[in-house]
């Protein structure tokens, strides 16, 4: 495997204070990487930095191209889909329009319609709600919509910010099953930020632990499971 995304010395800041203190990490082609860390460790900021949503410095190479100077739109147009924390639903637009927007940078009406049907295949509940205002969906449905909207880009890399946050265990399982299917059936790579470490580690091939804006551990999921100290602090057993 080669790296699809490789990040070196990434720093980011909101106004004054620096939040990330020079991160190094990679996402392999077709692989799933997970970022773990306590609240406030800088996970969300890391994803936002990749997409140019905060001021950032350092080197970010995506698919062989440096993207650290691109605008958010520019990064997205290269094939990076971001499911942000808070889900980023267009609440006043319909479910259908939300999905259409996911494919707004693509051409080809037929293919887009086809992909919408495919998303409805993953998340049948969205089909029932397709002409409903997206703000009226439940939290779980909005998370499904956010994932579906990201898929509509046909991304090479999907960034997921705590996709399980605030959802019932049933729904979480459903969404992660779909991630697993996607990972197995397409070449799409994923960078997942999760509080639910156990679940995320099942899916991942690489894991990084973040503490106050620094990578404090990098390795394979088994390395975490087999290290008593890490297991206790991140997996809780």
């Amino acid at each position: 495997m080669t790296a699809l995304l490789s990040v070196h010395g990434l720093t980011a800041s909101y106004g004054e204070g620096q939040v990330l203190a020079g991160l190094d990490f990679e996402v392999q082609r077709g692989g799933v990487t997970v970022l773990l860390g306590a609240n406030g460790a800088g996970k969300t900021t890391t994803l936002r930095a990749i997409c140019g949503m905060v001021r950032r410095e350092g080197s970010i190479i995506f698919d062989g191209k440096p993207i650290q100077n691109l605008s958010t739109e520019g990064v997205v147009r290269l094939g990076v889909a971001h499911v942000p924390d808070g889900r980023g639903t267009f609440t006043q637009l319909t479910v259908d329009e939300n999905l259409q927007l996911g494919a707004i940078t693509r051409r080809g009406r037929k293919e887009i319609e086809h992909d919408i049907e495919r998303c409805f295949g993953y998340f049948p509940v969205l089909k029932e709600r397709r002409s409903q205002q997206a703000g009226t969906l439940s939290g779980g449905e909005q998370q499904m919509l956010a994932v579906a909207r990201a898929l509509m880009l046909r991304p090479k890399l999907m960034l997921l910010d705590e996709p399980s946050f605030g959802l019932a265990p049933m729904i979480v399982k459903q969404i992660f099953d779909i991630f697993r299917t996607l990972n197995a059936s397409t070449s799409m790579s994923m960078l997942i930020v999760e509080q639910n470490a156990a679940l995320a580690l099942e899916l991942a091939d690489h894991a990084y632990l973040l503490e106050t804006g620094r990578v404090v551990f990098a390795g394979r999921p088994d390395d975490i499971r087999n290290d008593p100290a890490l297991r206790r602090s991140y997996l809780g057993y």
């Binding site: 958010t72 971001h82 942000p84 609440t91 637009l93 927007l101 707004i104």
Partner: protein, 291 residues
């Protein structure tokens, strides 16, 4: 009864103008969350451009189309050059810059075309219609406004560009995350507003006289229409503009003194009352929220 009908019809005609201005106001409000106080003066300037083209011998509709196109480009340019550097500036800076633009356009109109009043032709003629209830120009104004509304409706609901524009207005951050070029959508909103304002100016000029201060009062009515309609919906803006026009006319006929002499105060009171008691307007969408 006949008087009432006549007043309502001609109220709809003036309301059509207010509706155009309200539409323009809403376009920019949706893009950047501010009211463009220079909208009226921009429209006046556009109307002078049309007057100049007609004076140079352009056929009316050619001048009309060219003016709309130039105004569109001008609106885009203003956003790119003047407002883009201000995008994170506080509200006061925005208001000051709007007022600055107002002063510039007002003066530019007077400077280039002087302050003497000018007549402006109507493409529809001034002959009577509907048994003298409306003249041709008034009927034409209503038709133009409704036509523009239909076009905008189709643009926003049926085209991908329209969808991008709505997405950028509703949620800029998420719009960026699906690859919408939000900066350009804002510029496009300005272009549309400026073009719509130009149409409003060209429609109103035959009924009043063309001069640099032609639009100040009209803009207040446009704001009133937009506020009544809820500031976020183009259909609401048009409905609001028409309501304000009819109200103004009825008050002018049936309320002694106040109705005819305090028209602007009526618009002012309407704005304040709606903003205080129903800030989302009569037609503004209130989102069904689920907790």
């Amino acid at each position: 009864m006949e008087l009432l009908l006549q007043q309502i019809l001609s109220g709809l005609a003036t309301g059509a103008i207010y509706a155009c201005m309200a539409l323009a106001v809403v376009m920019i409000y949706q893009s950047i969350g501010h009211l463009n106080f220079a909208q009226g003066e921009m429209a006046t300037f556009s109307t002078f451009v049309a007057w100049q083209l007609i004076t140079w011998g352009f056929p009316y509709w050619a001048a009309f189309a060219l003016t709309v196109a130039l105004s569109f480009a001008g609106g885009v340019l203003i956003e790119r050059v003047v407002f883009r550097p201000l995008k994170d500036a506080p509200a006061l800076s925005h208001i000051v810059v709007f007022i600055g633009l107002l002063a510039i356009f007002n003066n530019a109109s007077g400077f280039v075309w002087d302050f003497t009043i000018k007549t402006f032709p109507s493409p529809f003629g001034q002959g009577p219609m509907f048994g003298a209830f409306l003249n041709m120009h008034q009927a034409g104004m209503i038709a133009c406004t409704l036509g523009m509304l239909v076009l905008l409706y189709l643009f926003f609901s049926r085209t991908r560009l329209g969808l991008s524009l709505r997405a950028a207005a509703a949620n800029p951050e998420s719009a960026r995350l699906v690859g919408v070029r939000v900066g350009w959508m804002i510029a496009l909103g300005w272009g549309l507003a400026s073009a719509i304002g130009a149409v409003a100016g060209m429609l109103i000029a035959p009924g009043v006289f063309l001069e640099p201060n032609m639009m100040l009062g009209v803009l207040l009515y446009g704001f009133a229409g937009a506020v009544v309609g809820g500031l976020t919906s183009p259909i609401g803006a048009v409905a609001g503009g028409l309501i304000v026009g009819v109200m103004e006319n009825l008050a002018g006929t049936y309320v002694p003194v106040v109705g005819s002499e305090l028209k602007l105060t009526i618009a002012l009171s309407l704005i304040i009352l709606i903003l205080i008691f129903k800030p989302s307007g009569l037609f503004g969408k209130t989102l069904a929220k689920r907790v």
